[in-house]
Each structure stands twice: as C-alpha cells, then as structure tokens.
Symmetry: D3
C-alpha cells in the first residue's frame, strides 16, 4: 500500500459517513468461521473491524463455531471424529469436548482478542440464560441439536450494558444436556430474533458465482426468490446450498439483509459495510 497522507485518511473517513449513519444503532450479527478464523492476520483484521463497528455505535454480535478445533482435541484424546451427512456424530463425551472447545477455548480467546483491540466483550454460550434451547435432531447423531427456541435476553442484556456478546453455538435442554449446534443456523436464528439489520456469513468463497470456477462471475446481490431459481438451475450447489438456505431462513425470520462474505479478503467486514465496494453476495428479501 502506498503511504496515505493524513488528509487522505481524513477524506476516507468522511467518505464512510453515509455508511456510518446507516448502521449507527443497528444490530449486525457476524457468523465468524473458516479461513478468517485460522489465518492470524485475517483474524486480527476481523477483530479490528468488529471493534470499530462497536465504537461507531453498531450493536455487533459475534457468533462462532469451531469444528476443526473440536476434531483436533478429539484426536488428541484418542477419539476419531465421525460424520454422517456432514454432521458430527456427538456422543456425550464429544458433547463435553465441544463444550470445552467452544465455550472454553474459542469463545474466551475471541473475547481476549476483542479486548486487546479496545472492545469490551463477554463470551456466552447457548446454555447461558438458556439462549439456545435444543432437542435431539436425529438419534443416530447423538447430541446434535435442533434448535427449539432462541431466548435473546442474555444477548440483549449484554448489548444493553455495552458489551460485544461472543456466542458459542451450543444448545441446552431442560435435562441439562449440552448440544452441538450448527453455527450458521444458530447465527441465523439469533439474528432473526434480534431483527438484525445485517447478518454476515463468513465463508471461504467469493460468494455466489454464476460459474463456480470464475470469480469474475460473482453475483453481487440476489433476492430470496432469485436464490431459489439459482438453486433450481444448479448454479447454487454443493456447500453453497446450506449457506443459501441459512440466509433465506435468516431473512424469513426478520433479518434485513444477509451477506455471504469472502472471509479471505482483508477487512472484508468494513469494506462491505463502510465503503461502496462489496465483499461477496448480498441476499435480500426482494421487492419491499
């Protein structure tokens, strides 16, 4: 990057004005995962982006998963991760491991990082204040949870007190069981229940591509209806299917717009929200 002068910096800041106005006081839910959670430099930039949003008056909620970290600890403990239809078979011991990894390691480490960058954060899981209630989705999968209810009180209470809530996607039930919950789904449900202005789904893809091998064919914006057509045409396929379903679910439940964001782009969140460039595909409800 060429050196940018103080005046140019000020210019950039003022050009962000209309965007800052737009998000001031609004809720943005960021589902954090993929490469942006592994690569140290990207991670640092995501933290900076979130703290900046928080400082300019956006209510940011950071939702994270941590599949690879769960597998890693399982393996260290001599347990072999097993998957059925892409879902982790979760016996009681695995559920305990997921709880330790997500609520104990990943979540609290994110809290630490946000605070090192000047934010104030509190890490909660789906158990805290019964944020995410769940039940067994499929007995063969064990403690993989299907969300039965989302109680956003603890998230709202923390936003109210000025914290960035960091949510580990675990579920609870009335018997005290812990469930492993799909992070994208949890984020969509929480964002919907909060009536969020934006939900950002960080992925390792550029967004929805018309030709999946050509980034230049990125579709910058689709309506829920167009997304259904794209899937019927086979343009939305493979791993993009559940992502898009999740976006549609979020919008159906009350989110204004969802962005399937390329988490590999530096400062993708700020670029998307505070400049006139986009960073992925935006899914909208269509004609108002």
């Amino acid at each position: 990057m060429n050196p940018i002068s103080g005046v140019e910096r000020a210019q950039v800041l003022t050009e962000a004005l209309p965007y800052i106005r737009q998000y001031n006081g609004k809720t943005v839910v960021v589902k954090y995962g993929g490469n942006a959670m592994v690569n140290a430099r990207l991670k640092q930039q995501v933290m900076e982006d979130i703290v900046l949003l928080w400082l300019i008056g956006v209510k940011v909620v950071l939702v994270h998963g941590g599949g690879p970290e769960i597998s890693e600890l399982m393996e260290k403990l001599g347990k072999k991760p097993e998957f059925v239809d892409g879902l982790r078979v979760t016996d009681r011991e695995t559920a305990d491991i997921a709880q330790m990894v997500l609520a104990g390691k990943v979540g609290k480490t994110l809290v630490n990082l946000l605070q090192m960058n000047g934010g104030r954060a509190v890490g909660i899981s789906g158990m805290d204040g019964r944020l995410i209630e769940a039940k067994v989705k499929d007995p063969r999968l064990g403690y993989v949870g299907e969300i039965t209810e989302v109680n956003t009180d603890p998230v709202r209470d923390l936003l109210d007190k000025g914290y960035i809530p960091v949510v580990s996607t675990l579920g609870c039930d009335a018997e005290g069981n812990t469930y492993n919950i799909n992070g994208d789904t949890a984020a969509a449900r929480i964002a919907g229940a909060l009536g969020a202005e934006r939900m950002i789904l960080m992925t390792d893809t550029p967004g929805i591509l018309r030709d999946k091998d050509d980034p230049a064919t990125l579709i910058p914006e689709v309506t829920v209806e167009e997304a259904a057509n794209l899937r019927a045409e086979g343009i939305v396929s493979g791993g993009m299917i559940p992502k898009v379903e999740c976006c549609v679910e979020a919008i159906r439940r009350g989110v204004n717009k969802v962005i399937i964001m390329d988490g590999r782009v530096p400062h993708a969140i700020l670029t998307e929200l505070l400049t006139d460039e986009g960073a992925g595909t935006m899914v909208t409800g269509g004609a108002e």
Copy 2:
C-alpha cells in the same frame, strides 16, 4: 427425616423470616469447591441453596475452581501435572487446558445445573469484561497469575440484569495471555470489591478446630485478630493457613463476614444463612 407436616413446613419458613430480612438485597459470594463439587447429592443441594437465595432477593455470585478436572484432562492428554509449593506449574498448553476446563466445562455445567433448578445464570471468566487482570507471579510457575486488578463491572452488570454470575477463576493481561488464578483468592478479591455481606468458603473441614482431630472443638466465630493469635499458637496450621489468610484478605478489602464452611454438610449454605445453626467458622472484623 420424619415426615414434616405442611404446618410445620410453614412454621419453618416463618422462622427463617428474620434471616431472609437480613440478606434481602445483599450480596453473597460463594466460593464453591471440594467435596461439595464432587458428590452429586451435595452438588444438587448447593444448587438448590443458591437458587433459593437468589429467589429471596439475595445477589449470589458463584465462584468456582476445578483443579482435579484440570489434572484429569491433562492426564488424558498425556501431560503430567506438576506442582511447586502447592501451585500448578502452568505452561501455555496447561493454561489452555485450564481455560477449557474451567470456562468451558465446569462453569457452563454449573450454569446448566442452576437453571435446571429454576435460576437464571450466565457463566463468565476473568477474561470477560477484563474481570480479573493478572501478571506472572513467579516465572518458574509460568501462567500462574497474581491478580493486579479486579473490575467488577461484568459481575455487577449481570446481577443488575437479574442473573446469577458463575465466575471461572482465570485471569487475563493486556497481551492476551490467560492465567490460572487461585480460586479462593479470586473469590476474596471479587467479594471485597463488591462489598459483599457474606463470603462463603466451601471446604472439606468442619471449620477451625481447637483440636484438629476433634470436631467438637469447633470455634464458631473468630475475629481477624483472634485468627492471627490462633495461627501464632499453631492452632491454625497446614491447609487452614491459606484459607484463613484468604478470609482476612476478604474482610480487609470490604466483606462484612466470611464463613469457612463445611461443604460436606447437607444444605450447609441455607443452614448457615437462614437458620440459627451455623455450619463452620465465621471470621469477622472484630469490634465495630
């Protein structure tokens, strides 16, 4: 227990009246550990006691450690726990394990249990909202933390919103390191900073005994000054020394009274707080 009639029950409840009056609106910090955290039936009773206190308007803060659980996971992962002067040598990996065990497993499981008994709880650690800031105590011990500052805002914010805060005793610093913190000390510092009415230190002893082999010699109440004398006389010795030091520290920092409680007694907390029987040794500041 003989069957107790409805009228007798009502009688018992009304006899608790003056005690309920006394603690209504006050803060009680419970440092939970030892046998009461291992034995399932005692654990259930502690949960009931805490939820009852919460329901009658006491602001309860539950502080917990989890040394045995840390050792257990370390061993499963092939790491041998080492101790110097009773303090766990904590390399970076051990600190990570402690974080997972305390904030991820023990804390969130307590949240689950409190909620199964009707409470509303949120589990936080010393990292959340920078509750406990720490620095290296002794380079030989690695990430064993000496508390440099206690910021009770996150605890107060949760109490304010009607939750039972469950605190995992980890510490943080400006560089993002996690520290293993002595649970008793953390509880004393938090209770002091909150100006708690009572701090309860759950132990596996009956309290301070004049003859350590004879429970009948229990000393029901000592002042800070008398405690010093008892130590000089050798009556307070061994493992009781740090417990008593911790009580004295708590009182010095603003707690009204501290109880070294026998956690092996069923419903020891309620017995101590809501009946005219005691359950251990109460340490007080002495003449007002």
Copy 3:
C-alpha cells in the same frame, strides 16, 4: 412439634423453591377476616405469612373488613346495629363509625403488626386516591355502597415503592360521602383490577364441603362451571353462596385462581402457597 434440625429446616426451605419461583413478582390479594383476625395466635401467624411472602418478592395486598369491631363501637356509643338481608343499615353516623373503626383502628393496627414482623406497610382506605368509588346500593340501607369504579393507582403506587398496602374497605363518591363496602366484594374487585395471581378469601370454614357436616368431604378444587353446578345441587348453600359468587366475580375480572381458605388452620397462607398441601377449596376458571 418435634424439634426440627437445621438440615431439615434447610430441606424444607429448598422444597419450597418451586413455589417461591411460582409467586415471585406476582400479586396476591388476601381478604383477611373471621377467626384469623380475632385469635391472637392465628393473627400473629397471618402477619408472619404475609411478611414472608413480601420478603420473597410477592406483591401482597391485605384487604380487611371489621364488622364486629364496628358493632362493638356502635354499642358503646349507644347505637343498635341493624341488618337487612345481612347488610348493616348505615346512617351517616354509622358510616362515620365504620370509617373510624376500619381506617383508624383495624387498618392501622394491622400496619403496626406487619411492621413489628419486619414488613413495611401503609394503610389506605377506599377514599385515598379514590381507590373505591361507590354509590348508594339501596336507599333503605343508607351508606352501604355499591362499587362503581376501582382505581388501583394508589395500590400500585404503594406496591411500586415497596410497601404492603393494607386496604380498609370504605368507598367514596364525588360529594364526599363515605360508604361501608362489603369486604369480600372489594377484595374481588381490587384483585381483578390488579390481575392478581391469587386471591385468598379467609373464612371460618374448611372450604366447600360436599357434606357440610363432614370436613373429610372437602372439595379441593372446582371450576367456575362446577361451582355453578354445586350451587344448583344445593351443595353450595347458605353463607357459602356469597363467598362463591365473590370468587367467580374475581375470576371473571381477571384473577387467576381464588382460594376459599380455612383461616383457622395455622399458617394456612404459607401452607397453601408454599407447600404441596392445600388449605381450603381452590376456584379456577376451568379449561384454559
């Protein structure tokens, strides 16, 4: 009563947990009268019960009458109490006597007793803040009031400020007249307007008995519909008819459940509300 140990006491307290949870923050209106208001020991127990409910976060409103005390003062003043259809003929002088006895003597004495047991109470009458507006019910009866409006603001304001409102059942009108108001009816109207969780009607009967001479035939619970049937069958008869009508009225106006309570049973209120034993007949709205 056999001596009950501290542990048993704690056990009793925790067994009250689900009940405490149920009533925490809810409104309970107690219509106090009959034997429980005459017998000193029962009176003391009612006071204890109410203060305990207040301490565990129940919003208790105590509504009282005082017919016998009114008659007593009338006789001392040389006036002969007269009744038509069970209603006291109330000339201006009698209305003044009722005002002095209820608002001056009975109400303020209850305030004193509640405060001696640790509560904070304020005694108000239907004139204060125009709580109960009334008109002449039947010119032959003089100042016997039919309630035209209930303005619960003064009751809510006192609950809001943390007091136990003690309500003397007098009525007012725009001309400054004072009316003698039936206590049960006033309680039902106030409880209804407050949307109370429970209304307790203290009586000198065990509740509704299938065979009025056999306490063993107590009907523990009836719906409004069943109550109508019981009356048609003649099982609800005599003095029980207005009691049951009053219960039905309370439910129709918004109270969740009403209990016709045997005020002669020690600690009947706590037994009913905080244990799994009942103390009378509960009237409910029926199928939800």
Copy 4:
C-alpha cells in the same frame, strides 16, 4: 367583594407569577388546626388553597391534629378527658380513640375534601412506614409520645407519586404501641427532615403581637434570635411560647422559614404565599 372582571382576574394571576416561580418544586408543610379546621367556609378555603399550591407544582404536606374531636368521642364513650400541663393523659383506651379519630375520621375526611376540590391525596399516620417513632414522654401521661425518629420515606414516596400526603400525628414504637403526638411538634420535625421551604402553623391568633390586645402591633417578621429576646421581654408569652419554640425547632432542623399564620383570615395560605400581603408572623433563621 366587587365583581372582578376577567381581565382583572388575569391581572391578578400574572401578579402572582413571581411567587409561583418561588415555590414551584418546593416543599411546604401546613400544620392545620384551630378555627380554620372547624369553620366550614374557612375549611373549604384551606382545601382550595392547598389544591391550588399542589397544581402549581408545590409539594404540599398537610399535617393535622384533632384534640377537640378526640375529646368529643371520649365523652360520647363516657370517658372524661384529663390534662396535665396541657397534655392529654392518654391511657391505652384513649390512645385507641385518638387513633380512630385522627387516622380514621379527621385524616380521611381531609383526603375526601382535597379530592372533592380536585387534588389527589393519601392519608397516612405516624405508623405507616414507621413515619413517626416515639417513646413514652412521661409515665404519668401514658401514651403521650416523645418523637425518637422521623422516617420521611412514606411522605417522600407519596410526594414522588404525585399525592398530597395528609399526616395524622400519631406515633409508633417497636412493640406496636400507638402514641398521641403533639401536632405542632410533629409538623416541625417532618418539615425539618424534608428541608421544607416553608412551614405554616395555623393558629387562632393574628401572629406575634407586640401588644397582645392590639392586632395593629403585629410583628410581621422575627429572626430566631429576636424571638428569644421577645420571649425574654415577655412579649411572647402564654400559648404563643410553645408555638414559637416549635418554629425555632423547625428552623434549627432545616426549614427555611416558618409562618405563624392567622387561620381565621380567608385564604390565608394563598395570601401569604402568592401575594405581597402577609398573614401572620414569619420566623426566619436571621442573617444568612
């Protein structure tokens, strides 16, 4: 009175402007008694004056006694009122009578009258919320109380909720006894504890007269110091002595100014507070 035109009326209202400004948001305690409480027309005017003050944003507290009414009921009940040094000998039965008359009859009737004139009032006694705590002053007098503590919370709570508190001057103690309290003293203590801007002591005299037989010698304003001199000179004598002592006490405890008001003058309160004419003698603290 000559007819006053609309314009003249408006003129009068605007001339009250500076006075309204002065008392807006301030507390004025009126000790009501004497002729102004007996004469129906004066009574109506006092009620109008108080409601007007309340409407223009003054926090008015009405404190009343009721000696003659107590004597009247005693006599009707065949008890002969007895006095020692001007204080009523008060056995238990007399205390009960005082309670009925003051809290039941006089207080609630004033509430009724204020509300007929458009105010919102609640009548409380010294028992409610333990407003006035007392002890036996002199065993020979029985339940004549010496004030031990004034807890203004119930008065402040009612002011806060927008009511005019009407205070019956009875006292309570921890044993549940009721005391007869001197009304002037109670008003002075309450006004002092509230830091009132004005206390008005209604009397049946024109104020302090230099020549007690010549109203033209009215002293319109005295300092506490001058009052002491006037007493030493014998100008303040007889029944005026306790009145003046009471004023001095009020000022010593925090009231800004006290007026010994001629309650026989129509609309004396408004004349004193909202016009440039006075209505009695003002006692002040002297040089600021």
Copy 5:
C-alpha cells in the same frame, strides 16, 4: 382597576383552580402575531400569560411570524416587498432576510422577553432538527414553502427539558434552502402533530362576527361543520377565511380546540384559559 385586596386576589386564584386542573400537563400552542406583537404593553402581557401557563405546568409552544419586520428590513436594504395573492414573493435574498429577521431578531427577542419574565426559553426555527420540511409552493413565488413534513422531535425535546420552545416559521429542504412559511399554517401543523389541547390564533379581530361591523354579534363557539356553513353563508369572509381554514386544518390533524383570539384584549390568553370569560371564537370538532 380598583385596588384588589390580598384576600380577593387569593379568591381569584382559587377560582382559577378548575381551569388550572384542566390544562395541567397539556400542550397549548400559541400563534403570536398582529397587534399583540406590536403594542409594547400587550406584548408584555402575552409574555406574562405564557410564563404563567408554563409555571402551572402547561406545555406552551410559542409560534411567531414577522411579516412587517421582514418588509421593514427589505426596505432598509432597498428591496421592494412584492405580494401575489397576499403571499410575499421570496427570492433567495428575501429568504435570507426572512431567516435573519425571524430566527435572528424576532425569535430571540421573544426568548429574551420570556426569560425576563421568569421563563426558560429556547428559540428554534423550522431548520433546527428539520422541524419543518418544505418545498416550493408556486415557482412564481420563489422560496415560499409548502410544508411537506413536520418533525416535532426538537419541540418535544425542548418541552421535555423544561423549556418554552419559541418557533420561527421557516422551512428547510434536503438541498439546504430556506423557505418562508405561513405562520398560521405552521402553527396548525405543529399543534396537530403534537396533539395539542388548545391552539390559540392571535388576531386583530374580536373573533367570528355574525355582523362584521358589530362586535356584539360575536359567535363564541362554532363546530367545524358550522364554520363551513358560515362560510357558505358569507358570514366568514375576507381575511377570516384563511384563519378559519387554518383552525379546521388544526382540528383535523389532532388539536382538541382552537381559539381565534382577540389579541388586542389585555391578558386575552389567561382570560380565555383560566377564567370563565372567553376571548374570541372557539372552533371545535363538533359532536364527539
């Protein structure tokens, strides 16, 4: 005026009681103009009236125009005022002059006067907080604005903070243009949006007269429907037509009652609002 005694003054004040009760906490919008704004004595009385209303708890909003002052400055600056259909042709320079005269001179001078009489006032214009958004009404007239939206937030915020808002009737648009706005219309729109209890339109006429040359034929009250008939009959004619249209508009948009007030009568506002005499013609919505 004959001298009025203190007692008579107090009498007048209490006779205002029912009126004060009626307006306490309500909003009254005064459109100030005409002779009452020119004549120094009348001006002083209007200021007194408004401050008095403010002190007795009325939320007063003062809306003013200033046509003659605008013409005066234009002429001093060598510009000739031109009118088309009674509306001032307003080029950019004239709009600037209007802005200076209304927001700078007239408004702030009124603020000064209100404060000299004891009020607290803040002068705002239609630009502040975008109170009045407008567009060009007729290109031939230049910057004469037609109101497109009224945002009452700044008025409510000032009322909320205890100020008397003084509104200069200018309009703004998204391009930063300033518009000259008809004062009566602006007052009607603001009063409507505030749901005002009263709007007072100060004029130099006695109100609606059945015979325009005979003040004795004043119509004291008309409904919106009757006003339409009066216009059809030609009784409402000439300059009274827009006044009446403005009243009808105000009522249609939510004002309870509007008074076409004779601003030449001393203390007309207080006479109308706080005595049983009227001062002009009241326009009402008709049968409720």
Copy 6:
C-alpha cells in the same frame, strides 16, 4: 489523490480505531471561523468532519462568530463599522444587526449544512436558556459584552437529546439587552464549563511558529508555562497573543487540551483528532 481501494479504506478506518476510542463519549468544542468559514470547499469539509465526530459518539459543540458578515450587513444598511482596539463599537442598532446575522443567518445556515451532511443540529444563541450572561465591558464600545456567567444547561440538554449544538456568540442580561461577544472567549468559557476534552480554535495560521515567516518552524505542542515564555520572548506576538490567552483561559477553566488549528488545511479536524498527524499547535496544561 490516487484512487484508494476498498481494502485500503478499511485499513485507514481501522487505523483510526485508537483515536475513536479516545474521543468516544467525550466533548469537543470547535470554535469555527476564518478562512474555513468562507471557502466553500473547506466549509463542506468542516461540516463532514463534525458530523463524522458526532456519529462516532463525540459530543461536538460548534461555536461560531461572524464579524465579516456583520460588517457586510451594516454596510448594506448604510452603517459604517467602527473598531476600537480591534473591538467593534456596538450601538443598539449594531447589536440588533449582530443578533440577526449571527443567530439568524450564520447559525441557522450552519444547522442546515450539518443536517445536509447527515447530522442533527439545533442553533442556539447566548440568549437561549441564558447560556451567556454578559455586561457592558467598556461604555465606549456600547453593547460589547464581558461574560459574567455561562449556564451550560441548554448546551448539555441538546447534547443529551442527541443534537449538535451550534452556538451563536451573543450575550444577554437581565434587562433584555443583547451583547456582541468575542467568539474565541465564548468558546473557551463554554468549553471550560463543559470540561471539554478538546477545544479547537480554527485560525488562518499554521499554529505557533518559532519564525513567523517559516511554517517549518511550527511548534507542535506547548504547555501553558512555555506559552508564557514564548510570549515573553516575543515569539507569540500580534494576533497570536489573544489566541494563546484564550487557550490558556480554556485550560485554566477545565479543558484538557486546546488546539490552535490551521483551518486552511483540508479536513484539519479529523486529521488532528483521528490520525497521528497534527494540524497546528496543541496547548496543554503541562506536567500532570
């Protein structure tokens, strides 16, 4: 300026993070004047800078003067501006002109501009809420005011309600006179009374220069003490003397730091506050 990519923009935004953190919730008073108020492009940038600060949670107060505009209108009206010691001789007519120009034209135009850039602003003068009370400074100068008191309530009330207060520096007195007030002094007094974090004094100089002809000799920071020395040495001279005096006064009255800013630099405010480049000379209190 070279084109700056979205990523670079995001980078710039995150580099502003620590500065945003620093000013979030703090008060910054900008004294606006000179070239930056004349040049259209600079003016637009100042507006953008202020709105951006407002959006990121800074409480910005914009204080302005308008000497040239006053002179311009005077001349149009045929009045010749006269100055004594650099202060405008201000007769009554001139004071009126100043009031119209500042409160009517300059202030409201700034409100318009801020709102076109997305802010919410309200323009007040020193008369509104008696913000600036003043008296005659020197009879020869007429209505040139010396500030006698600053009442920041109206500024705080507007900040509280989320507006950017735009302050026209006029003064008022109890007789209703308007005073012309020196803008720099008014800004210093207001900033001091608000305990502002920063006061920015916009000038047409680069700041304090060691050699007034060589911008390279800019002194970036001086303490109050050093400023005194610089003046003694003659380095601070001419028009810089009152500027520096004003800075010293602001710091003495409670402002943390003052910047003598070069208003000719584009986006000087943002460059100074949100980047690591400065834009003028910062005056500080010296050793803490």
